[in-house]
């Protein structure tokens, strides 16, 4: 029974049930609302493509959060890392002239470096000084909001427009597009496969799991806990930065202020529901991509506001969250500052 209650299917059922109740209590019709949502997500070729495009950053950021959780790190800073990564990619995209074979990979790598750099300080403080990463990553998010806002309204601003955005990236830095999709989906699939391989067979994945489950045992077995924590945080940040770069290079072709509709926060629910596995994360990212995309159509077709998805998301986090994070201070990696 306990297994069922803490499983993802029950979490989904409870969240949609409560969401339907919320729609009904507020005077709407849950059946037509969810029907319109489904049509908005899968109703036609283009809407399916849009659902996939919306899922791409959620897959990558979902993996970022999942990797952290496996190591006993709760990276709430994905949003900030995504913004910094996106801005780095956009900058290299417009400021550097190179042939596409080199330019696009360079932009992607710069995005990943930017995201990793934003995760470095919280990772370092957690590993070396025991400062809980939750507070520092929240603070780093706000620093990233203000920093990117400053940069795109001042030194990196596109002078030809009033909008707070960078100049458009050169087309050599764009991710190839095809039929409403872009090549970011391939990158997301590579990330999923890489995550599955590293977590299933890789030495690093093994170290991450041991450090996350039993840091004292890891230490006794000669695994460097601090090294593993810093590396996990760097890779988590790099994935978040990659998601930002993919959004910038695949969808917008520039960085504009507040371009992320909160992928970094959606990713927490994606990772929780996904249960830490590659397959689970991929599926739950698809679900949230469909919800986010379908909600737009639902809001147009019915009088149910699209924020019902946000409410459902919060419930999923509560329902699926018990399984993931243990409830005593100092669990996982030995943070000695019990925030």
């Amino acid at each position: 029974m306990r297994r069922i209650i803490s499983g993802p299917a029950f979490a989904l059922l409870a969240a949609f049930g409560l969401g339907a109740m919320a729609i009904w209590v507020s005077g709407g019709n849950p059946i037509t609302s969810f029907g319109a949502m489904f049509a908005g997500a899968f109703g036609s070729g283009p809407t399916v493509a849009e659902t996939l495009v919306k899922s791409v950053p959620l897959i990558i950021t979902g993996l970022a959060v999942a990797l952290g959780l496996r190591a006993g790190l709760f990276n709430i800073g994905v949003e900030g890392q995504l913004l910094v990564g996106g801005l780095c990619a956009a900058y290299v995209g417009y400021a550097v002239k190179l042939p596409a074979v080199v330019h696009l990979p360079l932009c992607i790598v710069c995005g990943m470096i930017g995201g990793a750099a934003w995760g470095l300080l919280p990772g370092f403080l957690r590993a070396k000084r025991g400062v809980h990463e939750v507070i520092t990553t929240i603070m780093m998010n706000y620093i990233a909001f203000y920093l990117t806002h400053y940069l795109v309204t001042n030194p990196l601003k596109d002078a030809t427009t009033m909008a707070p955005q960078t100049p458009e990236a050169l087309s050599s830095a764009w991710l190839p597009a095809f039929g409403g999709l872009h090549a970011g989906i391939l990158l997301a699939l590579i990330c999923l496969a890489g995550y599955a391989f590293v977590m299933g067979r890789g030495v690093f994945g093994y170290e991450v799991k041991v450090v996350g489950k039993a840091p004292d045992a890891a230490r006794a077995a000669g695994i460097s806990v601090t090294g593993t924590l810093v590396r996990a945080m760097l890779i988590s940040g790099a994935l978040a930065g990659l998601a930002g770069a993919v959004e910038v290079l695949g969808v917008h072709h520039k960085f504009y202020d507040q371009f992320s509709p909160g992928y970094g926060f959606d990713s927490i629910a994606v990772a929780f529901l996904g249960g830490g596995s590659a397959l689970g994360t991929g599926l739950s990212a698809l679900l949230f991509g469909a919800l986010r995309n379908g909600a737009v159509g639902m809001q147009l077709a019915t009088d149910t506001p699209r924020e019902i998805v946000t409410i459902i998301q919060a419930i999923i986090i509560v329902m699926a969250g018990t399984k993931f994070v243990k409830n005593s201070s100092g669990s996982g990696g030995g943070a000695d500052d019990p925030l």
Binding site: I138, M140, Y142, I143, Y146, Y150, N154, I311, S329, L339
Partner: protein
Amino acid sequence: MIHFDAELLNSTLRLATPLILAALGGVLCERSGVVNIALEGMMLAGAFFGMLGSYWTGNPWVGMLLGAAAGGAFGLVHAFLTQRMKLNHIVSGVALNIFALGLTTYLLRKLFMHAGGSPPVNGLPMWNLPGLGEQNPLTELALAGTLLMTPFLWRTPQGLRLRAVGENPEAALAAGIRVGRVRFAAVIAGGLLGGLSGVYLSLGQLNMFAEGMSGGRGFIALAAVIFGRWTPLGAAGAALFFGFFDALQMRLQGQTVGGVVIPSEFMLMLPYLLTIVALAGFAGKAVAPAALGNDEATASN
């Protein structure tokens, strides 16, 4: 040039009021051993339901009560999830913050057919107190709360119990203190204060509700709790300090200091930066309540 005048002082007080209220709520909650990163959501809920109460009745005091109650309800849910359901405190806080954003924007669209903001509503009247001049009653409450909370926590049996539960719940349990009950009370009281801080935003400053209007202030309040080392005076002092920088960045917008324009973004970053520095400095020292985030003692009662 910066002029330190009565107006700067006044706007510091105005901007610090919601931070002080929420930070005091955070101190109560975290002193009892419950991590509260849900202040942001409590604030947003308080702001929305404060507006709604005033919109429905035309009476801002009803709005204030409804907003406080909404914050308290969030506190109740946080206490229930963490103490009864044994959910990780941070996970519960994250979920409540997301829930508050979803709920308030959902209701805003549903009730007023439009995202962005509510219609204007009646705000709280100003009170004239000797020595303080015209102030919002919530500012006065924040200042009074700051002064009263220290004696409450250190000089009353209830305060002692609250801190005991946050420092060593097992010992508190052995001494006959009902750990779960104390934590429920502390978290709900913290939620009420968080709700009131939101009421100040919607009924004290703008006289309307705007989508996502807490805008990170709940996290600045959390920063003030940490920066103030989990003491009421320290947290309120840090909140005033952060409020002062907010007032200063508004004053300095577009102005030069010694020939240089200081971008307001960098001043807005300051609370967050300072908190990271403070946390790095605290590392290894016992400043936080010792049993913060620890629920082992409430497993049995």
